[in-house]
């Protein structure tokens, strides 16, 4: 029997899905509710929020969506939240997706992993389970989550998943109050035999609520660059990415230039479907329109929409690096026609700091 690398297979699948416009990647947020109360979260609601719970898709609605996704060609399904394990039907939904032949991953804070869950995952393993660590120490972790005892429960959850041999990765968001422990989190992950990644880019809340302000916890561009440099593997990957994607942007009249809505879609807890989690203005209700209409008509019309204004980003060689997009502009500035100064600042600081990114370096 021949053995093929997963990377080659994945690339082939993605190329085919773009050509045929198949939603080969899908993500579903089961809830925005969470048992943590993280300072930086862009979506979390209290776990006892009854009004939010009432609005969420029911189990049958979700399993029907999963069936439809499978029939439309979805292969990779991410289950996320909020905290998806907060829903009592997580296991039922997860198993349903597995039995439809989807490669199912999920994001969790790890604090609600019990014996039943471990048993299910050990028997029917996920493609990957990804747990977010918020600190390497109890003090820092709980400064982020604002829930006493959450650190201990998370470490116990990770231990249970590891002992059961569940494919596991760890990650963190680098914040003003935990950035000093990112390296320690990486070391801890290595001790546990898990891959680790971090992200320094914090987005504002998608619901515009003012009771929390994630942007207050953004690290400075200089600190983001300092963290880049701390991780040689990350720098190597970055350099490869930049060699390929940094340069004069292709001329395009389209509002959305990324691949969103071409081979991926996103479903929020209330059945609003869009190209990605940040496209809050361009989401369609699956309760009013079917998934197929949303994919074939709704999202298609969004991604083929024309841009009617200009931005400095239109000619910026760093545009693929910074991740600037209309959805970010809306979240940052409530408008498409103003770029995010926050993303721009990080990209330009990286350009000044990393030799491979400077103009004279080619």
């Amino acid at each position: 029997m021949k053995t093929e690398s997963y990377a080659d297979f994945s690339l082939r699948m993605h190329d085919a899905s773009v050509g045929g416009r198949i939603p080969v990647n899908a993500a579903i947020e089961l809830t925005y509710r969470c048992n943590n109360n993280c300072v930086h979260c862009y979506c979390s609601l209290p776990m006892g929020d009854e009004a939010a719970s009432q609005k969420e898709l029911a189990t049958a609605e979700i399993t029907e969506l999963v069936d439809e996704l499978a029939s439309m060609g979805t292969l990779w399904l991410l289950i996320t939240g909020g905290e998806p394990l907060l829903r009592g039907d997580f296991g039922e939904i997860y198993l349903h997706a597995k039995k439809r032949g989807l490669l199912v991953s999920f994001f969790t804070n790890g604090t609600l992993v019990d014996d039943d869950m471990v048993g299910l995952l050990a028997k029917y393993p996920p493609f990957v389970a990804e747990v977010t660590l918020y600190g390497a120490t109890e003090e820092t972790y709980e400064k982020v989550t604002r829930v006493k005892g959450s650190y201990r429960r998370c470490i116990e959850g990770i231990g249970s998943l590891r002992r059961a041999g569940i494919p596991l990765r760890l990650k963190t968001m680098a914040l003003t109050i935990n950035q000093h422990e990112v390296e320690a989190m990486d070391r801890r992950a290595a001790e546990w035999g898990c891959e680790f990644r971090f992200d320094p880019v914090i987005q504002k809340r998608i619901d515009g609520r003012v009771h929390s302000t994630p942007e207050r916890y953004r690290i400075s561009p200089e600190d983001a660059v300092r963290l880049d440099r701390t991780f040689p593997k990350r720098m190597q990957e970055y350099e490869r990415f930049c060699a390929k994607f940094v340069g004069p942007p292709a001329v395009s009249e389209r509002l959305y230039r990324c691949g969103t809505g071409v081979s991926s879609l996103h479903i929020n807890p209330y059945g609003m479907i869009s190209g990605c989690s940040m496209m809050v203005r361009e989401a369609f209700s699956v309760r009013q329109k079917g998934l197929r209409w949303i994919w074939e008509e709704g999202i298609r019309s969004v991604i083929s929409g024309k841009k009617t204004f200009s931005l400095p980003c239109d000619t910026c060689r760093l545009v693929n690096l910074c991740g600037q997009c209309p959805a970010w502009s809306v979240l940052e500035n409530s408008s498409y026609d103003r770029e995010s100064g926050y993303l721009c600042g990080i990209a330009k600081t990286r350009e000044r700091s990393h030799a491979f990114l400077r103009q004279e370096a080619g």
Partner: protein, 127 residues
């Protein structure tokens, strides 16, 4: 019609070799498969067709290789779809030879190669 071992196990990269497993390959090649045997698909694998890819996704951790998914070529997918737990290999070979207008010897070689590979990976079982 030519199956020719185009059946790939797709494995997440962990730095190990990505070549054929020679020892296992030799063992499978020498496996005797009776033509009167009836192949059945494992209940613990899901068949998917996405665009031009034919994929078998194992469900359980007891599958031969939990981190693997399997990719069939078109001929492999056709053979898979003829396996229903009732027909013998001889009957499947006869059907394929007729449907695709190939020599029975060629159909037999393709089907036996395929069955050896999938039996070795616990994706089908013979009775």
């Amino acid at each position: 019609m030519h199956y020719s071992g185009i059946f790939a196990r797709i494995r997440q990269d962990k730095g190990g070799p990505l070549n054929d497993d020679h020892a296992q390959g030799m063992q499978i090649k020498s496996m005797q498969i009776p033509l009167d045997g009836v192949p059945s698909r494992s209940e613990n694998v899901v068949f998917r067709k996405i665009e031009n890819e034919y994929i078998l996704v194992p469900l359980l951790s007891t599958s031969a290789d939990v981190e693997a998914i399997y990719n069939l070529n078109e001929i492999g997918a056709i053979i898979w779809e003829h396996i229903d737990g009732k027909k013998s290999l001889r009957e499947i070979i006869g059907e394929l030879a007729e449907e695709y207008e190939v020599e029975p010897e060629e159909a037999e070689r393709d089907v036996l190669d395929f069955v050896r590979d999938l039996t070795g990976s616990q994706l089908i079982r013979m009775s």
